[in-house]
Every structure is written in structure tokens, then in C-alpha cells.
């Protein structure tokens, strides 16, 4: 029943979106380069606006989400959620302009490595982040290296490469909004996200 409600809400949202802009919807042209990454299961609403007279506004459809952790049974999912289990800890923090993993995070890394080996169908996205200082694009690269460094640590412990994807959000997704070291140290981080969570 819960699932049914969810589906009908999703349908309603698609219909509502469509109603709001009936005249102006057109599919976005997507030419993919090869090899492509799989399309994300959920996507936010993005609009574009053409400047030429008569150009139609465009909008990308809102696709539904799912909340099943991929490749993990109920017991495994419960472990990931249990606040007393180290697997519920997902964040590795870094020093300024550094991407080396400090020893204090070794238990966390080992626990996730063991879990990923136990569930070889499970997949993680490792999201690297930086503080706000300096160039946005350099920070994109630095965040990528922080994600790669966690991937490397997991890989050394036997996790398969195809279970991990690394991406960077640079300085764009701060965990803390402040402009001082107290905020910055919370933002220099890699987050472990299990696919489907």
C-alpha cells in the first residue's frame, strides 16, 4: 500500500509538472559520448530558456527514486543504518590541500571494505569535497583526488574496482556553511554513499 501511494504521488508529480508547462515542454536532446555512465536514477528538475524569439522553454522530466540499497540483503541494510555500527559512519576528513587518509580512519575504511567484499553486488559512490578556499575547478580536482584516495584504500583491502565510483563535488556541497576553519575542516571530506540508499 505504501508503495502504491508512492507511485501515485510520482505520477501526480509528473502530471502536475506537465500541466504547468503544457505548451512549452520539449524533450532535451541528449547525445551521449561513449562509454557513458549509467543515467542517475533520480534527477532534479532543470529548465533551460532559449533567447531567440519563439524558442520554447525546456524542462527535463523528474524521474522516480528508489530506496533499496543495491546488492544488499535486509540484514546488510540494517547494519548500514545502525548508529552503533561503524558502517553508519561514512565520512573521512582531510587536512588542508591534502588527500592522504589519516590513521584514525583505518577502522572505518576496513569495515566498509569487509562489507563490500561480503556483498560483491553492492556499489558505493565516493564523493570528494573541499573547503571553499581557492579556485572552484582546482577544488573539483582536489575533491576528486580525495575520493580516489579512499577508493585506493578500499581497493588495497580487496574491494573490486567495479564496486566503486569516485566523483568530486569540489567546494560546491559544503557540509558546514561558515567561512572559518571550524567550517572548513568539516568540508574537507570524502563521503561514502551506497547505491540505492
Amino acid at each position: 500500500m505504501k508503495n502504491l501511494t508512492l507511485i501515485s504521488l510520482l505520477v501526480a508529480s509528473v502530471l502536475l509538472t506537465a500541466c504547468g508547462t503544457t505548451e512549452t515542454k520539449a524533450p532535451i536532446e541528449e547525445k551521449s559520448a561513449t562509454p557513458t555512465a549509467p543515467a542517475a536514477p533520480t534527477g532534479p528538475q532543470v529548465e533551460t530558456h532559449g533567447l531567440a524569439p519563439g524558442a520554447q522553454d525546456q524542462s527535463e522530466p523528474l524521474s522516480g527514486g528508489n530506496s533499496q540499497v543495491v546488492g544488499v540483503d535486509a540484514a546488510g541494510a540494517a547494519m548500514l543504518k545502525d548508529p552503533n555500527n561503524i558502517l553508519s559512519k561514512r565520512i573521512i576528513y582531510f587536512d588542508f590541500d591534502k588527500s592522504s587518509i589519516k590513521p584514525e580512519y583505518q577502522p572505518l575504511i576496513s569495515a566498509h571494505a569487509a562489507f563490500l567484499k561480503k556483498y560483491p553486488q553492492a556499489k558505493v559512490v565516493l564523493q570528494g569535497n573541499t573547503d571553499e578556499r581557492g579556485s572552484r575547478e582546482y577544488n573539483m580536482a582536489l575533491g576528486q583526488r580525495r575520493a580516489d584516495s579512499v577508493k585506493q584504500a578500499l581497493s588495497v583491502l580487496g574491494v573490486q574496482a567495479d564496486q566503486m565510483e569516485t566523483i568530486s563535488f569540489g567546494e560546491e556541497k559544503p557540509a558546514a556553511e561558515g567561512h572559518d576553519e571550524a567550517a572548513w575542516k568539516q568540508n574537507r571530506r570524502t563521503e561514502i554513499h551506497y547505491q540505492g540508499e
Binding site: 555512465a37 572552484r136 580536482a141
Partner: protein, 429 residues
């Protein structure tokens, strides 16, 4: 977020999109510096007098004053001479004007406007320029900017940027918009809007497209958007991160930064996508590629030497030579369109500044005070640099002349960042 909350957000966005004129407020400009000697110029009201709201003279005055290169002589009480009358030079001379602009707007029977102006040298008592434009009525402001460009070029010897356009990212109330505006920030329009971060917009060399990075698919993806139609292509969406697009001067390729094979490395890819060619194999971080105007070189940021510095390699890849040596953090290279200068971000002991290097000599000058200046982009005339600055906890756009003498700030509610100049000599419509 619950499904219901998501639904509400989607509907809210749709409503906002339907509101006409949303987020079109003009930017306010504050001049924080100026050239040591400014050219005194009088700009008489254009005929017909009384249509003050639409008077191109007001736009021209604002353009020239904001450039920091001119001072405005008082023209009140001297009437509205129009462009056809004999100029009474002595009365302008007594107001201290070295130059004079007169003009008029004539409404044509078909609804179009004929805008005419003349620029005089008051001291030599000669005409320096005179032009007539036949334009649609909604192009009056754009035409005023073109007049400013003519005056600026005649009196300073350098083409003006007033008729140009800029793109930038606006972050406002948790949403991200790509906007395109006139060089003075007016007539800003949204071209893309997303609840997820958008960054690094860069204009194609023909002015018809913007490349940018969007997080809407839960990973950074490089898009190319056609500005006229609003349609777009995801040109780089490989596993991992895709970012830092830079156009080749012929507009056929993009240099991008991908992490699909290793940490951030530079690749070439077609402007419509396709298979990428890897250009760097450093094992370090290589990012922020920027082509030289002749297309032969790519400047980029790398930490291969231990600290982030700017390097240069052939645009086909291969070995790179280091360009910056002073300090431990020099990033975000942007070559000037005339090939003489390289603007970049330099970290000093007191924050991040915009610096400029004369490429022939390596001579470097720090142009701005910081503390968080980023994303320098040269204007098409190579005489000024737009950049992002922080002011009172907000992000604003700022501009500095290449010699550091003239500074301006542009602001609008919300955080403005990552400005990019449209190339010179194109008209979207």
C-alpha cells in the same frame, strides 16, 4: 526529502518559471577606482527632449563614466542641440568638455527607430565620428551601447566592451541560474536553472553556445547549450567527474577535465561529444585548461611540481613548461584575446588576488586586493578582466583594467560568480 515535498518543489519551480520578468533586475555598479587622467566629455540629451526614460544619452553617460576613462561635463542649460545643428563649440568649452556627443532618435513610419549621433572634438572643432542606425524599437539600449563603443574607441584608441554580453552563475535561495546579460548587467535573462550546483560557464568563440558544468545528474557533467534554442547536449558524462570546459578557438572542440582513467586529467572532446583524446598523463592533478588565442597552446593548472602552478603545453598534448614560479598557489589561467597577457589567481599571505603576466617578459602584476578573488576572464578588447569577488559575505562580480587603475563591482541580490565575456562582434538576434 519526502515525495510530497519533492512534488511541491517541482510545482513551485514551474510557477516561478511562468512569472514574467523574474530576476531581471539590473545590476548596480560601483566604481572603486579610476584612471589618473580622465577625458572630459559632454553628452547632450538626444532629441526629442522629454523622452528621458528612453534617452540613449543616459546609457552612454553611464557606460563612459563606469569605464573610469571619462569624466562627464555638465550639459544642463545648453538645450538639446540634436545631431544636425551647427555646434556652438565655445559654450561646451566653457563647461570643460574636450569632446561632445549630440544625437537624436527619429521614429520611422514602420515603427523602427533611426538613431543618429555625432562625436565632436571641442578643442579642434572637428567631427570625429557620425553614425546612423536603423533599429527595431526594442534595440534602443543595445544601440546606445554601440554608440558608447564608437566613442570609446575614437577617444582611447581601444575598442569598447559596452555592447558586449556576459554570462555568469547566480546562486539565489538555494537555486543556481546561468544568466546572460549586457556588459553593464542590464537585461539579464535566465538561460538555465537547476536546484543543483552549476559552474564554469564559458562562451563558444562564435557566441552561440555556452559550455558549463552541472551537478543535476548527481555527478559533474559538461553540457553545451545552444543559447538561441535552449537545447543542450551532455558532451562529457563519463564515470567520475567531468568538468572545466574550455573552447578551442575554432569552436569545434572542448578541452575538458575527466577522472575516468585517473585523477583529474585533461582531454580533448568534440563540441558535440564523442570519444575523448587524453592530453595529459601526469599522475598529478591537471585542470583548468585554456587555449591560447591562436589555438596552438593550452595553459592549465597542475600540482605536478608539488604546489598548484600554471603550465603550458602544445594543444596536441606532450611535455609542459611551467609558467608561474612566484608563490605556492597560482591557478585559473586565462589568456587575453590579443595573446599578450595571462590573467590568473595568485594566493598571497593575505588571500587570493587576480594577477596578470605579460607573456613576452614574464613580468607579473597583482591587480586586486582580495581576499577571495577568483575566476578571471578577459574582455574581448583585452583591456579589462572580469572576476568573482567576495564582499560582506556575498559573492559579487568585479572588473579591473589590465593596468589595475580602474575597478568596478556589479551586484544583484544573491551570489554572483564566474563571469565569462561573450566574444566580440556577434549579435544573437
Amino acid at each position: 526529502m519526502s515525495k510530497f515535498a519533492r512534488l511541491f518543489v517541482v510545482f513551485g519551480l514551474t510557477l516561478v518559471a511562468l512569472l514574467p520578468g523574474y530576476a531581471r533586475a539590473g545590476l548596480s555598479i560601483e566604481i572603486v577606482g579610476g584612471a589618473a587622467s580622465r577625458i572630459p566629455i559632454a553628452i547632450a540629451p538626444f532629441l526629442p527632449a522629454g523622452a528621458q526614460g528612453d534617452d540613449p544619452a543616459k546609457v552612454v553617460r553611464s557606460d563612459l563614466q563606469n569605464s573610469g576613462m571619462f569624466s562627464l561635463a555638465d550639459s544642463t542649460g545648453l538645450g538639446v542641440p540634436g545631431e544636425a545643428q551647427t555646434v556652438l563649440y565655445p559654450q561646451w568649452r566653457t563647461r570643460g568638455a574636450d569632446a561632445l556627443v549630440v544625437g537624436q532618435v527619429i521614429k520611422m513610419p514602420d515603427g523602427r527607430l533611426n538613431v543618429r549621433f555625432r562625436l565632436y572634438d571641442v578643442i579642434r572643432q572637428t567631427q570625429l565620428a557620425g553614425f546612423s542606425y536603423l533599429i527595431p524599437a526594442n534595440k534602443l539600449r543595445a544601440t546606445a551601447h554601440r554608440i558608447s563603443d564608437v566613442i570609446y574607441e575614437k577617444l582611447t584608441g581601444v575598442p569598447g566592451n559596452f555592447g558586449g554580453r556576459i554570462a555568469f552563475v547566480l546562486k539565489h535561495k538555494g537555486r543556481y541560474e546561468l544568466q546572460v546579460a549586457d556588459a553593464d548587467g542590464y537585461d539579464n535573462v535566465m538561460v538555465m536553472r537547476s536546484p543543483e550546483p552549476v559552474l564554469s560557464p564559458v562562451w563558444s568563440p562564435d557566441g552561440t553556445r555556452l559550455a558549463y558544468v552541472s551537478f543535476e545528474r548527481k555527478r559533474p557533467v559538461v553540457f553545451v547549450q545552444n543559447l538561441a534554442t535552449g537545447r543542450r547536449i551532455a558532451v562529457a558524462h563519463f564515470p567520475g567527474s567531468n568538468s572545466a570546459p574550455a573552447w578551442s578557438p575554432d569552436g569545434k572542440k572542448l578541452a575538458v577535465v575527466l577522472s575516468k582513467d585517473s585523477s583529474a586529467q585533461i582531454y580533448l572532446i568534440g563540441a558535440e561529444g564523442g570519444a575523448p583524446t587524453r592530453l595529459t598523463r601526469s599522475g598529478a592533478l591537471d585542470t583548468e585548461p585554456a587555449f591560447s588565442p591562436d589555438g596552438n597552446w593550452i595553459y592549465f593548472t597542475s600540482d605536478r611540481g608539488g604546489t598548484p602552478q600554471i603550465y603550458r603545453m602544445r594543444s596536441s598534448g606532450g611535455s609542459a613548461s611551467r609558467i608561474t614560479f612566484d608563490g605556492s598557489y597560482n591557478v585559473s589561467p586565462n589568456p587575453s584575446p590579443d595573446g599578450r597577457y595571462l590573467a590568473f589567481v595568485h594566493q598571497g599571505s593575505d588571500g587570493f588576488h587576480i594577477a596578470v603576466m605579460e607573456l613576452a617578459t614574464g613580468q607579473t602584476q597583482i591587480l586586486t586586493d582580495g581576499p577571495s578573488d577568483e575566476y578571471p576572464h578577459f574582455a574581448p578588447n583585452s583591456r579589462s578582466i572580469l572576476y568573482s569577488a567576495h564582499e560582506g559575505g556575498r559573492e559579487v562580480l568585479a572588473e579591473v583594467s589590465v593596468d589595475g587603475s580602474v575597478k568596478q563591482r556589479l551586484s544583484i541580490p544573491g551570489d554572483l560568480r564566474e563571469p565569462s565575456w561573450a566574444p566580440a562582434h556577434f549579435d544573437l538576434n
